[in-house]
């Protein structure tokens, strides 16, 4: 499953300063592993010690927060767009 991933500025040092990259994965967990293969070091920034996405990062699949879906088990389909967005904004 090829999906488009939006990378926030603080993580773009792992992606050669690319703001979006194409990646494969049939769910979010797998996508994070695939990101790590393409951009070594990025997983430790996205996830905490327990391997789950950090609490100050929000992940969205096609604009929907994965906490309203199946979390990191959320299924991905070809052409989906995944955004990784720092949570501390707004208000």
């Amino acid at each position: 499953m090829s999906v488009k991933v939006l990378i926030p500025t603080p993580l773009q040092k792992f992606t050669n300063n690319q703001a979006t990259i194409e990646c494969d994965g049939s769910n979010i967990d797998q996508l994070i592993e695939a990101l790590e293969n393409n951009c070594p070091g990025i997983k430790a920034r996205i996830c905490d010690e327990t391997g789950k996405p950090r609490r100050f990062l929000n992940l969205y699949v096609n604009s929907e927060d994965i906490r309203f879906l199946e979390g990191t088990d959320t299924t991905l389909n070809d052409g989906d767009e995944v955004s990784i967005v720092p949570a501390v904004a707004g208000g």
Binding site: P10, F68, A89
Partner: protein, 432 residues
């Protein structure tokens, strides 16, 4: 474009940005999250320097605006953007207090803050002053309405370009109150959390200063002035209990920080202040977490008339939770019907017309009193943060109508008699 030259002050009191989790230090740039953990960045100060610079007398002799507290704010310009923001009335409540059974209630009335009638003018005055110092010529924000009003107005005053993002379904008054200043307005088909995410994605690509994203550490400090003013207006004393609305939770945490800073530099005596927060039931992720004893906030999809505080994914939610718990406060939510009653109650007893967020806060105040969670003798300050003229839709159909009469004495007399009869009937039905 010509802009006012920026003069900088010697002896800046703010030193760096620091990660709220882990304490990693960052330079004083347009940054809002720690690169390691993504936790929020906060402005750090040299409190010894502040103590050297300020006294009760020097503050009292300062401008009649938030800039009397400039030593506590993260700007270095000698001429910050001052449009008369702050120093709003702190009203001792008699009639609302009596109605609720409280003896020591005060209302901090930011419904009449300048220039755009909400507390947001405080944070925006600070953010745009800092934006100018950092060299931004375009400013932006993700807003539920009030912030867009304020950013557009103060950007116009400062001669900065402005592009604001709002949910497409905002109240007419909030939209018009932005458009009049002629910024670019993006009405996003989605709720505030979606607007916010979009703005985070727009992020740094355009070189804009987003007041509540990349300038957020500076911006949010402006809310401390709601704490400073209350302390000064109470005669250099902290209250016993405050009740404030919760949207992102930022305002709540900054009032707390403001009180603590005044204690730290010796301007007021230390005191245990209880912090209670108000949410609308249709968007109450922080109140739900409080009730369920959770230390994390699960996002919700907002569905309430209190649009200005309808943030389903609050950035500072867990910090607000922590403060309410450690100060022995509460976080409560109320229904839309109670919010309208809260707006009417404040208007009828105190002559203050607040928006839905203020109705929420008053309704929560009432609920906490009825539940015995506010002691009648506690010196309680309730924060009213926005103006009712901006959310007229909310009360339409819930308030009276004018009595239309002919320009004749007997028409007037008949109408008056009719209204008195109606009033009597209402009085007879009222439960005592």
């Amino acid at each position: 474009m010509t802009q006012t030259p920026i003069k900088t002050t010697k002896g800046s009191t703010f030193t760096n940005l620091v990660s709220k989790e882990g304490g990693v230090k960052y330079p004083l740039e347009a940054l809002n999250v720690c690169e390691e953990t993504f936790s929020p960045l906060e402005v750090a100060y040299d409190y010894d320097e502040i103590r050297r610079q300020v006294s009760r007398e020097s503050i009292a002799a300062g401008p009649n605006s938030i800039w009397r507290y400039k030593a506590f704010l993260p700007v270095e310009s000698e001429n910050p953007i001052d449009v008369g923001t702050g120093m709003t009335p702190l009203v001792k409540s008699n009639r609302l207090a009596r109605r609720l059974g409280l003896k020591n209630l005060y209302i901090k009335n930011d419904a009449v803050n300048m220039p755009t009638l909400s507390f947001k003018d405080r944070v925006v005055s600070v953010a745009l002053t800092r934006a100018r110092e950092l060299g931004f010529s375009t400013v932006s924000c993700a807003s539920t309405g009030n912030l867009a009003n304020s950013t557009a107005a103060i950007a116009a005053h400062a001669g900065m370009d402005c592009c604001v993002f709002i949910p497409a379904d905002l109240e007419a008054g909030k939209v018009m109150g932005t458009l009049i200043y002629n910024p670019t307005v993006m009405a996003v088909k989605g709720n505030y959390d979606q607007v916010n995410r979009l703005c985070s994605e727009v992020g740094n690509s355009y070189g804009w200063g987003f007041v509540n994203i990349n300038l957020r550490p500076y911006y949010s400090e402006g809310s401390k002035t709601l704490g400073f003013e209350v302390a000064e207006q109470l005669g250099w004393e902290l209250p016993d209990h405050i009740v404030a609305p919760l949207a992102s939770g930022s305002l709540f945490t900054k009032i707390y920080k403001g009180f603590n800073e005044f204690v730290k530099v010796g301007l007021v005596e230390e005191k245990a202040v209880r912090f209670s927060g108000a949410q609308a039931e249709g968007c109450s992720p922080i109140a739900q977490a409080f009730k369920e004893g959770r230390d994390f906030v699960s996002p919700v999809k907002p569905n309430t008339i209190a649009k200005s505080i309808a943030i389903g994914n609050p950035a500072d939610g867990m910090y607000a939770l922590d403060i309410a718990r450690k100060t022995n406060g509460n976080i409560e939510s109320v229904t839309d019907a109670e919010i309208i009653e809260g707006m009417k109650l404040l208007a009828e007893t105190e002559g203050i017309f607040t928006e839905t967020a203020g109705g929420t806060t008053i309704a929560v105040l009432k609920k906490l009193v009825e539940a015995g969670k506010i002691n009648p003798d506690e010196k309680t300050v309730v924060y009213i943060t926005g103006n009712g003229l901006k959310t007229q839709e909310a009360v339409q159909g819930y308030i009276g109508e004018p009595l239309t009469i002919e320009p004749k004495l007997d028409s007037f007399e008949r109408a008056l008699e009719r209204s008195r009869t109606l009033e009597r009937l209402e009085w007879q039905q009222a439960s005592i």
